[in-house]
Structure formats: structure tokens, C-alpha cells
């Protein structure tokens, strides 16, 4: 059941990114909203639950994107690993850190994309253009990130409370 919820949320985010945001003025370079879901999975959910979903998200986005297959999957997997590692040293559940993790995710994803494009000689992108897109995306993370982080935490708290209620019954 939980997977259906995740799939529903993922589809909503993907539709938002591919169908709504590109036609909304100034939001053409909005960051990949699935990064938030990846951060959520990394911080709050167990491996058994996260890994299948991570694979689903990566394949879904790679299917929709015109880039080489695997770019999104790569960026999601590395973000997931990075956040898991960070969680071993710092308390990543704090909203500020969640926003920073999302910004880090945007940076990582852009590095993966640019690295691939450069490595595969897909195009020559001017550093100015690169910086502009990156700054726009980070700007959107800083704007949309705090409410998303608060939402993540409240979702997790509700889910945890629900699990605790169900535990004695079981």
C-alpha cells in the first residue's frame, strides 16, 4: 500500500515537472522535485523500502528525459548514499539540513549531468549558462525547500505515530 502512495506522489511530482512547470513563466529551470523524495527516503526510510523506489524513480525520469539513460538514476543513487553517509555523522532530520541536502542534491545532479555531457562530448556549455541554471535551481530550492522540509518531517511524524498505534494491535 505504501508503495502505491510513493508511486502516486512520484507521478504527481513528475507530471508537475514535465507538464506544469515548463509552461509556467520563470519556472522553466525549476529543480528536479523528485530530489526531495530521494532526500526523504534517505533520511527517514529503511533501505528495503528506499532502494526499489529509488530504482523506480531513476528509471522513470531517465525514460522521460532526453539525456543518456542512467543519469537520473546515478544522481539519485549517489545522493541517497551521500545522505546516508552524512546521517552517520550529523542529525540530518533538522529542516535546515534537509534544505541544505536538497541544495546539495541539485548540485550533485547538475555535476552528474555536466560530467556526462562533457565526458560524452554532447555539447559545449558556457560556464555562464551553467552557472545561471545552477543558481536558478538553488534559488528555487531555497524558496521551496523550507516548506517541503517541514512537510517531510510532518509526514514522517504522522507515519511514525500511525506505526506506533498499529504496533500494540499487532
Amino acid at each position: 500500500m505504501r508503495f502505491f502512495w510513493y508511486i502516486g506522489i512520484s507521478l504527481a511530482l513528475v507530471i508537475c515537472r514535465t507538464t506544469l512547470l515548463p509552461y509556467t513563466p520563470v519556472m522553466g529551470n525549476f529543480f528536479d522535485p523528485l530530489l526531495c523524495l530521494v532526500v526523504y527516503l534517505s533520511v527517514f526510510r529503511p533501505l528495503t523500502e528506499s532502494i526499489p523506489l529509488l530504482a523506480f524513480l531513476g528509471i522513470l525520469m531517465d525514460t522521460l528525459s532526453g539525456g543518456p539513460f542512467g543519469l537520473y538514476l546515478t544522481s539519485y543513487v549517489w545522493l541517497f548514499i551521500g545522505v546516508r553517509l552524512a546521517a552517520a555523522f550529523i542529525r540530518v532530520e533538522s529542516p535546515i539540513l534537509l534544505v541544505l541536502l536538497m541544495a546539495g542534491g541539485v548540485l550533485l545532479q547538475n555535476l552528474v549531468f555536466l560530467g556526462a555531457m562533457t565526458a560524452f562530448h554532447l555539447t559545449r556549455i558556457g560556464s555562464g549558462d551553467m552557472l545561471r541554471v545552477f543558481i536558478e535551481q538553488v534559488g528555487w530550492v531555497l524558496l521551496a525547500g523550507p516548506p517541503l522540509a517541514v512537510l517531510m518531517r510532518s509526514v514522517e511524524r504522522t507515519a511514525a505515530a500511525s506505526r506506533r498505534r498499529q504496533a500494540p494491535a499487532e
Partner: protein
């Protein structure tokens, strides 16, 4: 002399008679006595106030009901207005779509090859690539590699096909390459996408005469795009670049920001021009 009963009967008859006579006289000559006028003057103001109050309360009551009616009518009219505005907006959209489709149909009829019109349903999730998803797939006869055009020029190429949808790589995508010519003097090059809404014409020799404003058309040499379709126009030319060739920037003929429908040319590659004419 008379019994009490007789007296009562006579008095009754007299009273009725007097009353009848009084009524008969009064109906012929209406009373205009001073007392009557005085009474009228006294009573009238009260009557007036009472009547006004009654009328006012009646008016308020009626106004209340009327206002309720007006409010309801206002709500209804607002809803009707909103619906009309929505209809008008939809009609305008249909008109615009109709114009675009007519233009596309006219262009389709001018094409030698069979073509299928498709609508763009989604854009690439990444900022670094320029592909779109269209609502036609293998079920409609689409296959990988088919060219997509609009009445303005070349739009892109099908790179992935599912049963009912396909992925279309636009010519502004970094992976895209179209064999092209400068229409004026047939200088040849490859139109390559950048991640912006602009292309470059690669492999133009330093001695080739290319000027801003020159039209760029497809050469047909790539075996994908029919020969002679507009690709764009030269927007800037700079001298020899780092890789020996001239740097030529091309503004695409198609406005990709406003792209909503495309025509997919369904002809097999063998029907397309294979070499220079």
C-alpha cells in the same frame, strides 16, 4: 294603552325608517360638515404615519425578498458570466488551435510524404536536454528516427517509441544533429543543438561566406530530414573558433517555446532524398 311589545316593534320600525331616510339623503348630498373635516384632519396624520409605517415595513419585507432574489440573481449572473468567460476563453483556444492545425494541414498537404499530426504532452524533466513527449506512438505508425516538422520548419526527430507515445528530440537538444545548407550559397554544415534555444552550424570552413540573416535549410544528406525544409537563420558569425572552423550560431525557425503540435513524416527513409540534387 299599548303593550311593551308593541312599543318596541314601533320603535324598531321608526329607527329603520329614519335610517333609510338618512341614508337616502346622505347618498344624494355627501356630508361636508366642519366636524367631519376636523376629525379627518385629526385622524389623517395618524393614518398617514401608520400607513407609511405599514408601507415601509411592507417595502422592507418586499425589498428583503427582492434583495434575496437580486443576490441570487447576482450569483447566477456571476456564474453565467464566469461560464461565458470560460467558454469564450475555450473558444479562443479552439480558434487558435484551429489556425495552427489549418496551417499544419496546409503544410501537410504540401508535403510529398504521408504525415501524422501529434500533440506535445510533456517536456523534458531536465534543464540540460530538449526532448518532448508526443501523443502518437507505434500504434499510429511511428518508428524511431522519423523526422518531425512544423509549417515553420524542422522540429526534431523521434528517438523513442512506445505504443501510444513517443519521445521527440528537438533540434535544439545537445544530442541533435541535422545536415544543413546555407540556402544562398549552398555552404554545408551540421546544425547542432545546444542546451539553449539556439543551435550552431558546425564544420563551416573559415573561407566560407556565411552572413547573419542567411537562411539555413536541410540538405537531405542525413537521410532523415527531407531536403529544403527551413531549419533557421544565421544569427551570428564569428571568426575561426578553437577547432579551426567558423563559429556560426543559428536561430531556429521553429519557436520551441510555443510549440504545441508537430507533423511526423511517416515516409520510409528510402523515399527521402538520399543525395545532392
Amino acid at each position: 294603552m299599548f303593550s311593551k311589545k308593541t312599543v318596541l316593534i314601533l320603535a324598531g320600525i321608526l329607527l329603520v325608517t329614519v335610517n333609510i331616510i338618512f341614508l337616502a339623503i346622505a347618498t344624494k348630498r355627501p356630508p361636508s360638515w366642519g366636524v367631519g373635516r376636523l376629525l379627518l384632519a385629526f385622524v389623517a396624520p395618524f393614518q398617514d404615519v401608520t400607513s407609511r409605517a405599514v408601507r415601509a415595513s411592507q417595502g422592507a419585507w418586499e425589498d428583503y425578498f427582492r434583495l434575496v432574489g437580486v443576490a441570487q440573481e447576482n450569483e447566477r449572473l456571476k456564474r453565467e458570466l464566469e461560464a461565458a468567460a470560460e467558454r469564450s476563453h475555450r473558444q479562443r483556444e479552439i480558434e487558435l488551435e484551429n489556425e495552427r492545425l489549418r496551417e499544419l494541414l496546409g503544410f501537410k498537404q504540401s508535403l510529398a510524404q504521408p504525415a501524422a499530426a501529434a500533440r506535445i504532452v510533456a517536456k523534458d524533466p531536465s534543464s540540460w536536454f530538449n526532448t518532448v513527449i508526443i501523443n502518437k506512438g507505434a500504434a499510429d505508425g511511428l518508428t524511431k528516427g522519423l523526422p518531425a516538422v512544423t509549417s515553420r520548419g524542422i522540429a526534431g526527430q523521434i528517438v523513442e517509441v512506445s505504443l501510444y507515445q513517443s519521445k521527440l528530440m528537438l533540434i535544439i537538444d545537445p544530442n541533435s544533429a541535422v545536415d544543413a545548407l546555407i540556402q544562398r550559397n549552398r555552404v554545408r554544415g551540421i546544425v547542432k543543438g545546444t542546451f539553449q534555444e539556439e543551435c550552431t552550424l558546425a564544420f563551416v570552413m573559415p573561407e566560407d561566406d556565411v552572413r547573419p540573416g542567411d537562411s539555413v535549410v536541410s540538405s537531405g544528406f542525413d537521410g532523415i530530414f527531407p531536403k529544403g525544409l527551413p531549419v533557421g537563420s544565421v544569427s551570428a558569425v564569428s571568426g575561426q573558433g578553437a577547432d579551426f572552423f567558423k563559429e556560426v550560431r543559428v536561430r531556429p525557425a521553429v519557436d520551441f517555446d510555443k510549440l504545441e503540435e508537430v507533423l511526423i513524416i511517416l515516409a520510409p527513409r528510402s523515399l527521402l532524398p538520399a543525395g545532392p540534387r
